[in-house]
Amino acid sequence: MISVAIHRTLGAFDLDVAFDGPADGVTVLFGPSGAGKSATLAAIAGSGPIDRGHVALGSRVLFDSATRVNVPQRARRIGWVFQDARLFPHLRVEANLRYGMKRAPKAAQRIDFDHVVGVLDIGHLLPRGVRDLSGGERQRVALGRALLSQPELLLLDEPLAALDGGRKAEVLAYIARLKADFALPMLYVTHSPDEVHAIADHVVMLDHGRVVATGTPAIVGGARVGAEIVGRDEHGVLLRVPHGDVVPGTTLDLTIDR
């Protein structure tokens, strides 16, 4: 379980975010641009300063202003994937993948190289330089590199934002495979409802540097449920909405696609 309580004033912007995420599965930080999603990730990773607060991964405290704990970024064992893959341009794909792996403590080696390469389908890319990879391939290598650093938490900062439509779906499918194959908590930042519904187990909604809601992906809205007209009566049309979580009395906002 990850527990976060961050307070940080950055010029006119005030970040005051607190939430808990489950020990495995994907927690999505959802909100518009400027909501403080990336600043929250940076604070968790240990690259941005925190004025006061607390960040813990299970029983491991990474930051605590009260007891003056501040584990440096490289010792936090947190993998970080950005929207631009930020691969090392002078290293081949395999050396990029092994960079963090070589530096992880021997005792922590539980994520296997061949397993990651197989799940991400990047075996044929290993001897290549990173310059001639496609956007989707670069992002898959970046995912593998972060995963192989044997992290206890994976941060994904809008990993699909720099990709075009087709590539988005491709990389999203790989992230879903990582989620299924490796028991690793992930914090995933996005402002796309489609990505929330595709990947999230738990959603933390941010706006203006505050948590405004937490819950299941349903709180984001925009779910495509494929309602069906099953009849008419004197009040209008009867819809059947196949949505298990909805309790009687819930208000539904419907958007008609066609």
């Binding site: 970024q73 090392f88 310059r131």
Partner: protein
């Protein structure tokens, strides 16, 4: 093709310029990194001091070196206790040439470090690489083409340095007489123009060889760093 004396002058010039780069390049790299990556009060002033030999007449630099490294200078006296003498020696000539070439190497090193994306270094940090680790595995390899260029510029400047070398190390054949100084000495002799012209031709040849090999090195460095 070349006479024994000409070979000696050529070898000495290359050796002195090489030694100048050898001691000045590491210093230029460290200060270049400090200038590129840190902010502190007095930084602009330090930058001006580091570049001062670029704006001073070389003879003034030679004079300062005499005052510091001469037999009565504070550093010269200290070195003498270890049996090291710089004034009027080949190492002294390399010191003078290196000091003159230093600002050019500093600028090139600084630009090479500035060209490395700090976000790439931040990724290395998040993957568990500490400062020295990521400096040697990420920053220096990515800066390599620029650092090679810095070494070449420094070598060229040291090779041609005249004023500071002759002031500090004098013009001693076989010890401190580089190509530039040998040309000057030849011109002082009646009828020495022919000798001077041959030496000038050798200088030209050295320049061409140095330039071509630097291009080859740069191309290799760019391939290696994937740029």
């Amino acid at each position: 093709m070349l006479t024994a004396t000409e070979w000696e002058v050529l070898a000495l010039s290359v050796s002195i310029a090489g030694r100048a780069v050898l001691f000045a390049l590491p210093l230029a790299l460290i200060t270049g990194w400090v200038m590129a990556r840190t902010r502190f009060p007095g930084r602009t002033l330090l930058d001006a001091v580091l570049h001062s030999s670029l704006f001073l007449p070389p003879v003034v630099v030679g004079l300062v070196l005499i005052l510091l490294f001469g037999n009565d200078g504070p550093i010269g006296e200290m070195l003498a206790r270890f049996g090291i003498r710089l004034i009027f020696t080949a190492n002294g000539a390399a010191l003078a040439a290196g000091v003159m070439a230093f600002p050019l190497m500093l600028r090139a090193c600084r630009q090479a470090i500035e060209a490395v994306d700090p976000r790439i270094e931040a990724v290395a940090d998040s993957l568990g690489a500490g400062f020295w680790d990521r400096t040697f595995s990420i920053t220096l390899p990515l800066a390599a083409p620029g650092l090679i260029a810095a070494a070449v510029i420094g070598f060229a400047a040291a090779l041609g340095e005249f004023g500071a070398v002759i002031t500090f190390a004098a013009n001693i054949p076989g010890e401190t007489q580089t190509l530039a100084l040998a040309i000057y000495a030849a011109l002082q002799q009646p009828g020495g123009e022919a000798v001077a012209l041959r030496l000038a031709g050798i200088s030209f040849g050295v320049a061409i060889v140095a330039l071509l090999s630097s291009e080859a090195l740069l191309a290799y460095g760019r391939r290696r760093s994937g740029q």
